[in-house]
């Protein structure tokens, strides 16, 4: 647990599965100013393009992954009045049905919580250095980036400043 500005922040990269309910209770526990909490949990699907998969393996860039996530959480805190944010991202081997990522945002009102959760998630998909490899019966292959994810992240910078353009 740390504070970014006056906001409670839990940012963690881990190999182990996590319990989203236990983690999110940290944002409301002992306080009465939270009026809205949005949680997003990304779960490993059992199929990819109609073919069943055995597992996903997530590779990441230690050090950079943490700093990219922190940077985007700080940006979210500057843009919306948030009282707390949680980002948990797993790496290593993940089995179908297991959680991969958790983004939780708490605020006094729902608009900020919804927007900040989407903002953080869109940037996680396109800017945080993680790569998914899928294991099928026929072998392993890297999942390709999707243009729709880039477009989802783009919409935030269109109304934001131009400072992300160089990256």
């Amino acid at each position: 647990m740390r504070y970014i500005a006056t906001m409670k922040a839990i940012i963690r990269l881990q190999r182990e599965p996590f319990d989203a309910a236990v983690l999110t209770s940290e944002l409301t526990c002992g306080r009465s100013d939270v009026g809205a909490m949005v949680t997003f949990t990304g779960v490993c699907r059992g199929d990819e393009n109609g073919e069943s998969i055995a597992a996903l393996t997530l590779e990441h860039y230690p050090g950079m992954a943490e700093s990219e996530i922190e940077r985007h959480v700080s940006q979210a805190a500057e843009r919306w009045p948030l009282s707390g944010v949680i980002v948990i991202h797993r790496y290593g081997r993940v089995l179908p049905g297991e959680n991969i990522v958790l983004v939780a945002t708490a605020s006094s009102h729902r608009e900020a919580a919804f927007s900040a959760a989407e903002f953080i998630m869109d940037y996680l998909k396109t800017r945080a250095p993680f790569w998914k490899q899928v294991e099928k019966t026929g072998g392993k292959s890297w999942i390709e980036a999707r243009n729709s994810d880039d477009a989802a992240a783009e919409r935030w910078s269109a109304v934001h400043h131009g400072h992300e353009a160089a990256e």
Partner: protein, 85 residues
């Protein structure tokens, strides 16, 4: 100049190693120059950087574009577009 290079995902698989220290010859000024120079170092590098346009780069943990200068960099990473989340 000496710099640490790191490779991830299929760039790492194609190069055949996760990281290495290299002595960059004079005249290599940008990330793009560095990729072109790396491509000339052997078959595995030529294969890895074959489609250089899709490869992303970071200098000291920050995303950069191909025209970014590499002077003063401690660690330069090359990787495919990210697929986390």
């Amino acid at each position: 100049m000496n710099v640490k290079l790191r490779y991830f995902a299929w760039v790492r698989e194609r190069v055949g190693k996760p990281e290495e220290m290299v002595e960059v010859p004079p005249g290599i000024a940008t990330v793009h120059d560095l990729m072109t120079w790396l491509s000339s170092r052997g078959e595995e590098y030529a294969y890895a950087f074959d489609n250089a346009k899709v490869i992303r780069a970071a200098i000291d943990h920050r995303h950069v574009r191909g025209d970014a200068p590499i002077k003063g960099a401690g660690e330069i990473a090359f990787f495919p577009p990210m697929t986390g989340g």
